[in-house]
Symmetry: C2
Subunit: 329 residues, 2 copies
């Protein structure tokens, strides 16, 4: 539930401003980008000037949300002046200045109204209005509620963007954050014109054929231990070269072996170009693993964590697997 006082503040910020900046966290995902697109459409419908600045190029599978190329890659030198001319800033899906990189430094010092909307537990106090609702499935859920309260005209790309936000952050309505509200919103957005099958194809069914080959090699060579409760696999630079894939193609691979009966913990080891080892820790929900990630200098969520370790995979894998085994004592 959005606090009525916060809602009033936002209404007044929108009414009084002419130029708005929208942004989200580094490595923007469907929730961050979907929330930006939806809110930007509403602001433009009101005749406002809107600039969306992100820290990475838009992932290919989300480009369909942005046919006009409204999402811009932020460059401090090029955009610094423009940013200083903004009347207000919306920070979406993140409440941690660090994860706004260069833009964060600039915004933090900027004497304008800032609104932060996020469903992650807050790291920092961000703005005049911080709407932080960890019970929400996604930031898209909060933005949807906000837009309804603001009497926004929900249609076209706006509804597709909100649907994509909820869809991606709930893992297609299957993660533990999936709540009644997420489904209610999906129901309403479909009634407003979203074609779920179409969005699903755009988001999930545009994977490179080479990625499937790499996934095939991985699934054919999984390592098991602890009666099949622990599973791990390694992706080397040689494997990436042989299949013509990029490190980012491995995204989501660590979630895959979770589908296997009995698996409780999955580890993915990715050899980086510089010979370091990137580890992804995924738990099915019984074992809390951010503690394990911490031991290797990483961190994250209780059931999805990561770490970057100095050292080649040949050396790191046995060390981490040995420690992981202790979790099954």
């Amino acid at each position: 539930m959005i606090d009525p006082a916060a809602l009033q503040q936002i209404q007044s910020i929108i009414q009084n401003g002419k130029r708005f900046l929208l942004t989200t966290h580094v490595n923007a995902d469907g929730d961050g980008i979907g929330s930006e697109i939806a809110l930007s459409h509403h602001l433009r419908d009101l005749g406002k000037e809107v600039h969306i600045f992100n820290h990475n190029p838009t992932p290919e599978n989300l480009e369909f949300l942005d046919p006009r190329n409204d999402l811009q890659l932020f460059e401090a030198q090029k955009h610094g002046e423009l940013v200083r001319e903004m009347d207000a800033v919306f920070i979406l899906d993140i409440s941690d200045w660090e994860r706004l990189r260069d833009l964060g430094k600039l915004l933090r010092a900027l004497p304008v109204a800032k609104v932060c909307i996020d469903h992650h537990p807050a790291e920092d106090r961000m703005g005049e209005v911080d709407i932080i609702l960890p019970e929400a499935s996604s930031t898209g859920e909060i933005v949807y509620d906000l837009l309804i309260k603001l009497d926004a005209r929900l249609q076209g790309k706006m509804v597709e963007a909100l649907y994509t936000a909820v869809l991606t952050d709930t893992g297609s309505f299957r993660f533990s954050n999936t709540n009644s509200r997420a489904h209610e919103i999906a129901a309403d957005l479909i009634a407003r014109g979203v074609k779920p099958h179409h969005i699903y194809q755009e988001v999930y069914e545009r994977q490179p054929a080479n990625k499937m080959r790499l996934l095939g090699q991985i699934l054919n060579n999984l390592n098991f231990s602890k009666d099949g409760r622990l599973v791990w696999f390694t992706v080397t630079q040689a494997m990436l070269r042989a299949t013509g894939t990029q490190p980012r193609d491995t995204e989501g691979f660590a979630d895959f072996p979770r589908g296997i009966d009995g698996v409780e913990l999955c580890l993915m080891f990715l050899e980086t170009e510089k010979g370091q080892t990137k580890i992804s820790f995924r738990s099915k929900g019984r074992i809390v693993i951010n503690g394990l990630a911490n031991r290797f200098g990483g961190g994250g969520h209780p059931y999805a964590s990561g770490a970057l370790v100095d050292g080649p995979v040949q050396e790191v894998v046995p060390r981490v697997v040995a420690e992981a085994k202790e979790f099954f004592a």
Copy 2:
């Protein structure tokens, strides 16, 4: 929408009967079994005697819906007499006598009230009351609406069963049959106690490790044609033996390559024990393929069809692939 007259008939059939038989199609799935379980709980809540007869053992991933082992494997010799003592029959998720096998023959001749509830286009006239709603996402959706109208106490396994029905038949809310209503129902069922993540794990994350190995081998050896728009793969008996898998472990494999960018049509060829070839046709939505399936003596939905062809895979594969290529002319 359930026709009010049909609803009244069902109310009277339930009121006047003491013993009820529930069944669904051969190779019962989440929608059929979920619908059976949900309806059976309501009938038992009313003090009725309920027998559920299916034609195959319950798939392992759906066993959680049936902790009391209410689902029985029908045997004409053993259960024939009992079936003749029933007061009424509910036939769920199917309107085709053929697909009720031996039980179908028996029921067809049985002079008792029959109610058929289905969301597939009707093949046969089945009973006194046929509720056939092809616009429904699933039979579970219709059974949910019915149970609401019957003032059923929706809780426990009943809501889990209904959720599973909608979840599985919409492919986790992503197939083209996913509608607003499916999400509205999911929202209500979650509010009534369903834990989506828990159900997802039961249904989708209990796959045998060997199945993953087989999937790995397949993904590593996909065949492409027509600029990547046509993809196919073959599963031989030798591959099943080498990975310790069963033919049923290949279920869903044909859907997999749909995730690849540009793929429009996927064909899976499965060598049977008797040396025949079972073909699964899957289209991403542009190409209608039940016509192709028809040419080989099969049939099905516009975007998901099947056929069983006499002849070894070595001979059938090139023949079918050649015909499939013509669809891209």
